[in-house]
Amino acid sequence: MTFNDEPPERGTPLSIRPGHSSPGRLERVLRAGNFAVTAELSPPDSADPEEVYARARVFDGFVDAMNATDGAGANCHMSSVGVCALLSRVGYSTVLQVSCRDRNRIAIQGDVLGAAAMGVASILCLTGDGVQAGDEPEAKPVFDFDSVSLLRAVRIMRDESRLLTGRKLATPPRVFIGAAANPFVPPHDYQVLKLNKKIAAGAQFIQTQYCFDAPRLNEFMREVRALDLHKQVFILVGVGVLSSAQAARWIRNHVPGVHIPDAVIERLERASNPQDEGKQISIEIIREIRDIEGVAGIHVMAYHQEHTIAEIIERTDVLEGRVCWFPECDATQACLSASAK
């Protein structure tokens, strides 16, 4: 979908609308009340920009923004700043993931400025997995910030146009600030308070950990609504695609913070075609998520299953006929006809 003020040249930023923090498409889509779809792009082990573009093209038309992970699982890949800079160059809307594991406050504040200068309009502030989770467990963990103090730092840079030290910024980073939430791990009754804390620190949108347990999400969202938090922050629920029972078990045991109920794994085990069953499970969960009051969208993390996303989005029709913007979008009738409010 295109906006009525599309920049004449692809890759230059949109204007910042009144009441908006960023020139980003994601913020616009959400504030217009659309059900948003974001997807995780896993950066390549390569210095070739074409690899990044190839990974992005898989999502063309189906996502409102792509998250570039920052050393996901504590494994080294192309940097999120690098990936976002490449994607922004051709106009894609990106979410820069920033983890506290590998860099201190000096490096992170610098990256926020650099990324914003290159066109990044949304930033997701994360703590990050411990180094023990990755293939370089001997690395020195930094954790100078935690996710909340990082959120606050980015908000101060943007709203007060200064660094944490007080040093003035000539131009602040105009970014839409995001945080993660994990309603699926203990201490359960604290999670909604932690969300509240993140909002207080500066979070404007939330992308949650994988949801494979809709009843638990429902409970969490009930608590969210009781505190009216869904009116203060856009909540995008994380969804994944499982390809087999073995894969599900591996994720559950090796990726920190992922909760997959036994019932889901048993279902995959019984299925004659686990691939299809995995897709079916995702579709059912997405439909359930979509109908929960206070949910603003979904965030798809389909590592190694990226090719299935188009079909899943189409079959759930969460975009309600919208075609999300992509570089060749202007050439296709579909994109124009679905142009936005």
Binding site: S147, Y190, N196, H259
Partner: protein
Amino acid sequence: MYHARLWSVRHARLLEAFYQCFEKVLIRLHPLFERIGYQRLEQPVAATEKVVKGFLFDCRMCGRCVLSNTGMSCPMNCPKNMRNGPCGGVRPDGFCEVKPDMRCVWVEAWTGSQRMREGAAIESVQIQLDWRLQNSSAWLRVAREKGEQRAGSL
């Protein structure tokens, strides 16, 4: 002492009451501390603090104590130094993502705070730590900062 640490969280209410009295005394002592000189007190007080809080909380002497906001569970024992709540990696059984043999510091903090009179303090945002304060006495810092505040408002 891991077991003492868990004991402290179970007795968070008691420790909270004790600390509230202790803090009042500290603040009252500010004029005296000033006369003796904070510089001169730093080393002996820090050493005492390290022994006492080291035993009770596995204190890491971060210099900016937040035990009253964290259910008496020292957040510096978290391998990610989380000072604002748990990370997203807590195991289903409530154990730490990084150290599977240790209860997540924040699962403990949450239960501890539930026992405390002013447990809602867990909800306030903590800013990033000033790492220069490491190994200095948080007690003296409280005495000085709150003592000066008190003197200013009198």
